[in-house]
């Protein structure tokens, strides 16, 4: 009857739990990072100032607050290194996501149309790489892509190339690695939407004169857009911040933002700038998230 009776204590806790999680494991750490990004680097332990000492009294805290500045963010927009890193990350993520969609959609579509008893098996094939450590799989790719690796041996044996191709330390190698690693994250949400699709809607489309191709573009594809959005976002966001794959497979000519961040942290020991890079990255990722949320709302909840 009243909302209160539904929200008995356990239920109320369950409703609050996700927010608690957000506060504990996202908001609080983010607060730390944000604070460091506003600090200055120092040769000290930890390597930045000011430090807040809550026992030193009110005046000390105010003095520390006054030392915070946006200098690190000014550096980010004034130095080309950061801007090009951001841009490269963005370009790599967009390109990878498009390739993933082009490969993942047909695979997911095929899976959804398999006979029921084969679908679980196909799903396992998609997931099975996760049973091996991610790092080991990337090292395996180094092995495959190196000068006398498997790929070149196959290409030579098939007479597709005359001399071994240089794969390692190129963007091609990086894209191969990224697409390979993220394909399950694209396939699974696409499969989930495609398999739930009501087959009678395709029959209705055919009944109303749509050829199979028209039925796909007019019914199947628009109805799978939530899956496309989920898959694209699930790939795009982590790829933007990807560090391991470009570091191991791509050349050192240009860096993605994850690599720049690593450099600032571990090579330069400049925690404040590294934190600023991280904060800026997060802020840049908010617009696509909001866009996705709006799309999701429009396709799912047409009801107003």
């Amino acid at each position: 009857m009243s909302a209160r009776s539904i929200f008995a204590r356990p239920a109320r806790f369950a409703a609050v739990a996700p927010y608690l999680w957000m506060v504990l494991f996202f908001l609080v750490p983010f607060g730390f990072v944000l604070k460091i990004s506003l600090s200055q680097t120092a040769i000290a332990q930890p390597p930045y100032v000011p430090l807040f000492n809550l026992t030193a009294g009110w005046d000390a805290i105010v003095a520390a607050l006054k030392q915070l500045s946006l200098d690190n963010f000014r550096l980010l927009v004034s130095d080309n290194l950061y801007i090009t890193s951001y841009l490269r990350s963005f370009v790599v993520a967009v390109t990878s996501t498009l390739i993933l969609l082009l490969i993942g959609y047909p695979v997911a579509y095929g899976m959804a149309r398999l006979p029921q008893r084969w679908q679980a098996f196909a799903m396992m094939l998609v997931i099975v790489p996760f049973w091996t450590s991610f790092l080991i799989r990337i090292y395996a790719w180094i092995n495959i892509l190196q000068h006398d690796g498997l790929l070149n041996k196959v290409l030579l044996a098939l007479h597709l190339v005359a001399t071994p191709v240089v794969w390692l330390s190129t963007d091609s190698a990086m894209y191969i690695g990224i697409v390979y690693s993220y394909l399950p994250f694209m396939i699974l949400p696409l499969y989930a939407t495609l398999v739930r699709m009501d087959p009678s809607q395709l029959e209705a489309a055919a009944d109303l004169g749509a050829s199979p191709r028209q039925a796909f573009w007019l019914v199947t594809f628009p109805l799978s857009l939530p899956g496309v959005g989920a898959g694209a976002l699930l790939c795009f966001i982590p790829i933007v911040g990807e560090f391991v794959i470009p570091d191991l497979l791509a050349g050192s000519a240009s860096m993605m933002i994850g690599q720049t961040l690593w450099l600032e942290f571990f090579a330069n020991k400049d925690w404040p700038v590294a934190s600023a890079v991280a904060v800026a990255l997060l802020v840049l990722l908010v617009p696509p998230l909001l866009l996705y949320d709006r799309l999701q709302r429009r396709t799912l909840g047409g009801a107003g």
Partner: protein, 392 residues
């Protein structure tokens, strides 16, 4: 089994409710010829033949799994027959893919496109037909008015009630003006009141458009209400094709008699034949006099079917000479159970022979001081003309 059932005796009295469709039309609009479909070893439709005339409202009625939906899906093109032909206006459409057939289907779950508005759902088929935009607008407006959806054109399907969705599905299927409209359990998702009013609307619509409707249903009341003719299916075959009245009053088989409505059945053997009368001695030792059916009965082992409303109860029996002259059947028994259903009361009577008989009587007066009660001894009687003889 599949041929048209002959009109039963006294056609003048019976022709009332469902006017038979003009039988003089030379070639039927739709001819199903020896069509069969197997799923693995299961014979869903078994070499079935059926003619459906233009302008007819035809119902395929049967229990679930009888093959009626498979047959409808073969007409729509979603299943390909393993054998036989489907002639629509003389042309075999069996090998044709669904998007090229001049038939449309209204789906049981409506199968509306959730991402399209009501207007775009209705226009979907028209756009595929390459109709000009202005003509589409006119046709959509016409359809919206026809199914009374005015003002809802811009809504998405999930903003509609069940009844409104049903109307959109109907408008979408009608928009292309198909030669045959196929309806797969179109009212199953509606509640009882809405279903009854929609039945009447569908009938009026079909009459107004003069279109051929084929409806699949498992609800015999729905089929009897709406259809000119009903094809009763069981195990992939047509058990009987007849008008609703003939189906009820002159079933061809024991199965049809039991499937349509309620029935009392007595198994027995033909003992002797009077002029126009058969004397059947029943398995429980009684004797029932029945009218000689128009089609001669070959076997001697028969079942006598009599509908409960034709079984009368009384405190005293009819005059004895009527029994002696075989004008009436008279049995005696005890009422064991009384079910009051509002318009009707159904009495279970245990006959002295041990057999059970159901009798239903219309409650034509509000206060019935003469109503029978359980335990009461009664006379059960019915006329030979009200009995149907079925070969076992």
């Amino acid at each position: 089994m599949t041929e048209e059932s002959p009109d039963i005796d006294a056609p003048a009295a019976l022709a009332g409710s469902a006017p038979p469709v003009d039988a003089s039309a030379d070639l039927p609009l739709l001819r199903i010829e020896g069509v069969g479909k197997k799923f693995g070893a299961f014979r869903a439709v078994d070499r079935l033949s059926l003619d459906i005339r233009e302008g007819e409202f035809f119902a395929l009625l049967g229990p679930s799994g009888c093959g009626k939906t498979t047959l409808l899906r073969m007409l729509a093109g979603f299943e390909t027959p393993d054998e036989g032909r489907i002639l629509l206006g003389g042309r075999d459409i069996a090998p044709m893919p669904p998007h090229q057939r001049p038939v449309n289907m209204m789906f049981q779950n409506y199968a509306l496109f959730p991402h399209l508005s009501v207007r775009d759902n209705i226009a979907f088929g028209l756009r595929r037909a390459g109709m000009a935009r202005a003509a589409i607008d006119i046709r959509v407006a016409e359809m919206v008015a026809l199914v009374k959806l005015d003002g809802l054109e811009k809504r998405k399907p999930d903003q509609l009630s069940g009844g409104q969705k049903q109307r959109v599905a109907l408008a979408r299927a009608l928009a292309r003006r198909p030669q045959v409209l196929l309806l797969d359990e179109p009212l199953a998702a509606l509640d009882k009141k809405l279903r009854e009013s929609t039945q009447l609307e569908l009938m009026a619509l079909q009459r107004r458009l003069g279109m051929t409707f084929i409806i699949v249903t498992h609800d015999q009341e729905e089929a009897m209400t709406m259809a000119n003719r009903i094809g009763v299916m069981d195990a992939g075959r047509l058990e009987q094709v007849a008008t609703p009245r003939n189906l009820y009053e002159a079933p061809h088989s024991r199965w049809v008699a039991e499937f349509i409505g309620d029935v009392n059945l007595f198994d027995g053997e033909i003992a002797s034949r009077d002029p126009h009368r058969l004397i059947v001695s029943t398995r429980d030792g009684g004797t029932i006099v029945v009218a000689e059916p128009r089609q001669p009965v070959g076997k001697t082992a028969v079942s006598i079917a009599i509908r409960p409303e034709k079984v009368k109860l009384s405190r005293r029996g009819p005059a004895l000479d009527a029994i002696d002259s075989h004008a009436i059947n008279r049995l005696e028994g005890v009422v064991t159970d009384v079910s009051y259903l509002g318009g009707l009361t159904v009495y279970q009577v245990k006959l002295d022979s041990g057999a059970m008989v159901r009798s239903s009587m219309a409650n034509t007066v509000r206060i019935d001081i003469d109503a029978y009660s359980a335990g009461q001894r009664v006379v059960v009687w019915f006329t030979p003309d009200d009995c149907v003889v079925l070969e076992q």
